[in-house]
């Protein structure tokens, strides 16, 4: 009943296009631009995320050129980038701008907006059996705030003084003082505006996801029958709704420090560039770090949880086995959600944090290993003795598990405050987080795109291209980030422009070159995926089967090209959980099938 309430503005809840014509004409604008259909909004998030991924990835290629070939100059760079690369070498300021923007773009605009934005929008209504989100209007606004934030962030690349260049964490004083660096001037203001819009977008989206999951499930879809994707996206939304506001309060104080002369974060500063001593007193940059990481750490799980959910679903469908430990999976995700709020200070072990407090955070941090290990165990046992279909989505899901294990193990090193004294701010950290949340979340995203592409566009993506893309990317990812662990153990710090002048790190010159070359190849390989994606939208093999993967979940009971409202008739009723695969001699039993009295219990 509540579904009807939310959709009262849209009488055209009928599936086919013919039926649309009778009721209400959809214009190009309402269908493709200011759409309130969750499926279209999901596609908007996905494609915007892809554009961002190319921009952010290209930035990494540019700074890898500098890191791999510090002594060489590339005259063509000046042709392309102009004053960013005078004489064919990226200047120091622009190098910092590139790494800052790479981080901001990938963390927020690709892996948060692009990943949870896409799959929460697409999967939540389809998998819980709702016609749309609780508030389609807010959902639309969420995308357009995201888009607006994107435009502002891109515009900061083109201002005279350049984009913000003080690292994606935007620590003061670099972020608070315009005179601190060129990027701290207009670039930082644009960064703040863009992030504020992004936060609003995430809050609108998160509110919607939560109330949709809790309020709009179809008949019979109790919480313990939800697919794990929906559970994961639900916890993601909870994390976002509770942590982004804290970043917002941190940023509000930052704005006042920048423009109103307050000293929340500033104290006793002398600026060399203008040769002035500032009057600010009593501020503390550590306060900003607390507020930032209170979001910053949950943000890691905002990125990772959707990938976990997608991997669980894809693994189970393609292993033709029920997911192992369904409830353990939910409880683990719940534990991760709770712990995510209690570990932020492990980013701050070397800021002069009280060592006793540090040890509490070590304990809480290492506790995250428990739910993570449970999840890994469950994924592996789902694969164990399974009749695996190696679809591209399945390969990517397995790739996700592999990367999550490799990256998760190094997290145990970094979670120790004593080891962190040596490892913090080295390439070891870079390697750790890129594997565990960067690349692995990308593999979760790839898995999701390959798996649900038939539902999104009614066509398949090309498998051969997908296999080449998968193997190239996973080998590339390991070749890029594995060697960084060695550099990090040797103490090589991150964020430096040129390591050639350091005797201790000269030995890594060839290794850096190798990493850069692999990074460029791996980046180029992503165009294979993009080509595959866009080509298949128009020319891919058409889906003939309503349920191409033989999956149990509700999205495969909709027509091949569902209209706004998803189901042409009644929303189907749910009678069982989503994971009845290979049961009682049957390959799969959809959630809509009533339970047979003779059926065995799971």
């Amino acid at each position: 009943m509540s579904n009807d309430v939310a959709l009262h503005g849209h009488p055209e809840v009928v599936g086919s296009h013919e039926a649309h014509a009778h009721h209400h004409k959809e214009t190009f604008i309402t269908k493709y631009v200011f759409s309130q259909d969750h499926k279209m909004i999901a596609k908007q998030f996905l494609i915007t995320g892809m554009v961002w991924a190319v921009i952010g990835g290209l930035m990494s290629v540019l700074f890898r050129l500098q890191l791999g070939f510090p002594d060489e100059s590339f005259p063509w760079l000046e042709d392309v980038l102009g004053r960013w690369a005078k004489g064919g070498k990226i200047s120091a300021e622009n190098y910092y701008a590139l790494i800052t923007m790479h981080g901001t773009v990938l963390v927020f605009f690709v892996l948060t907006g692009g990943l949870s934005g896409t799959f929460a929008n697409f999967l939540i209504p389809l998998q819980i059996g709702a016609r749309d989100m609780a508030s389609p209007m807010m959902n639309m606004l969420s995308y357009w705030f995201f888009f607006g934030g994107s435009i502002v962030m891109i515009s900061s690349l083109f201002v005279q003084t350049g984009p913000f260049s003080g690292g994606w964490t935007a620590y003061p004083p670099l972020s608070a003082l315009g005179d601190a660096s060129p990027g701290s001037k207009v670039g930082m203001d644009l960064w703040i505006i863009s992030m504020a819009m992004f936060i609003i977008s995430q809050l609108l989206a998160g509110l919607n996801y939560i109330s949709t999951v809790l309020n709009m499930r179809t008949k019979g879809m109790s919480m313990n029958r939800l697919p794990l994707t929906v559970w994961a996206l639900f916890f993601t939304a909870v994390l976002g709704v509770l942590s982004f506001p804290v970043l917002l309060s941190g940023v509000v104080l930052l704005i006042f420090d920048r423009h109103a002369g307050s000293s929340f974060y500033l104290s006793d500063i002398f600026i060399a560039s203008t040769n002035t001593a500032l009057p600010n007193e009593g501020g503390s940059a550590i306060l900003y770090q607390h507020l930032f990481w209170f979001l910053g750490h949950p943000e890691v799980y905002i990125i990772l949880l959707p990938a976990m959910g997608i991997a669980s679903e894809v693994l189970s469908v393609n292993a033709r086995k029920p997911i192992f430990g369904y409830f353990a999976m939910i409880i683990s995700m719940f534990a991760i959600t709770v712990l995510a709020f209690l570990v932020w200070a492990h980013h701050m072990f070397v800021t002069g944090l009280n060592p006793f407090l540090g040890s509490v955070f070590v304990l809480l941090t290492l506790m995250i290993a428990v739910p993570s290990a449970i999840k890994v165990f469950n994924w592996l046992t789902t694969l164990f003795k399974a009749n695996i279909r190696f679809t591209p989505a399945m390969l990517c899901a397995i790739g996700f598990v592999s990367l999550f294990i490799s990256g998760g193990l190094t997290g145990i090193f970094l979670g120790n405050s004593t080891l962190d004294i040596h490892l913090h701010d080295t390439y070891f950290v870079i390697a750790h987080f890129h594997i565990v949340m960067g690349v692995s979340a990308f593999f979760g995203m790839f898995a999701g795109v390959y798996h649900w592409f038939p539902k999104m566009y009614g066509r398949y993506m090309n498998n051969t291209l997908a296999y080449i893309h998968f193997w190239g990317t996973i080998i590339g990812a390991y070749l890029i980030f594995w060697p960084m662990h060695y550099e990090g153990f040797a103490g090589m710090p991150r964020r430096y422009l040129d390591y050639g002048i350091w005797e201790s790190f000269k030995q890594f010159a060839e290794l850096n070159k190798f990493i850069s070359i692999v990074a460029i190849i791996t980046f180029a390989l992503q165009f294979l995926f993009l080509f595959n994606f866009f080509y298949s939208i128009f020319k891919g093999r058409k889906v003939k089967d309503q349920n191409p993967w033989k999956a149990n979940t509700l999205e495969w009971t909709t027509p091949i090209n569902p209209g706004h409202g998803n189901w042409p008739g009644e929303i189907p009723e749910v009678h069982r959980w989503a994971y009845d695969y290979s049961k009682d001699g049957r390959d799969f039993i959809p959630q809509t099938e009533p339970i047979d009295p003779n059926e065995s219990k799971h």
């Binding site: 939310a6 998160g206 942590s243």
Partner: protein, 193 residues
């Protein structure tokens, strides 16, 4: 006030909460986190060197009384709406919106009193937090007042008769929330300054 909100919440839950109301509750949680972030920043800063305190101007006591009164009127207007007593509902909702604006005026007077006493945004003491925290709260009240005006104009539009109680309930719950939030913030400053 808080317990009243809670009971209301449970009652709705049993009937199955309307999605919009549920969205509001999640939104409230998120606003709470914003202010929790700011007030915990206050506590962290309080023990740092260079902290300065300021007396909370008396006018904020009047604004407390005003917002408590407006909470009562919004409650009564919801009751009137449910009883289909539209005349009473309209006048009560008007009074509530006006009290909300009066509250904001009081806040502005409080700010200017502080400002004229020479306490500006320069520095990092209690007063600077007060400007930001109370200011941000006033923005939330302003949002509530705008929502009140929206349902106020709806009540006066003669074209459609609206008996859907959900929008009124959403606005009134939000209004009680900004009221409770204010009481928390006011007491927080009284204790900590």
């Amino acid at each position: 006030m808080v317990t009243e909100m809670r009971n209301e919440h449970i009652d709705q839950k049993n009937k199955g909460t309307h999605p919009h109301k549920f969205t509001l509750w999640v939104g409230i949680a998120s606003i709470i986190m914003t202010f929790a972030g700011l007030t915990s920043a206050f506590i962290v800063k309080k023990h740092a060197p260079g902290w300065s305190t300021t007396e909370v101007p008396v006018i904020f006591l009047y604004s407390t009384i005003i917002i408590l009164a407006s909470s009562a009127t919004v409650h009564l207007s919801l009751k009137a709406f449910k009883e289909r007593n539209m005349l009473r509902y309209r006048s009560l909702i008007t009074i509530t919106a006006l009290l909300g604006l009066l509250f904001i005026v009081c806040q502005i007077i409080g700010f200017s009193q502080l400002w004229n006493a020479g306490i500006t945004l320069e520095g990092s003491g209690a007063a600077q937090f007060l400007y930001i925290i109370f200011g941000l709260h006033a923005l939330h009240v302003l949002g509530g007042a705008i929502a009140l005006f929206v349902i106020f104009f709806r009540a006066y539009s003669s074209k459609v008769r609206r008996y859907n109680v959900v929008p009124v309930e959403v606005v009134s719950t939000y209004w009680h929330f900004v009221d409770a939030l204010w009481v928390y913030l006011y007491i927080f400053f009284l204790i900590n300054v």
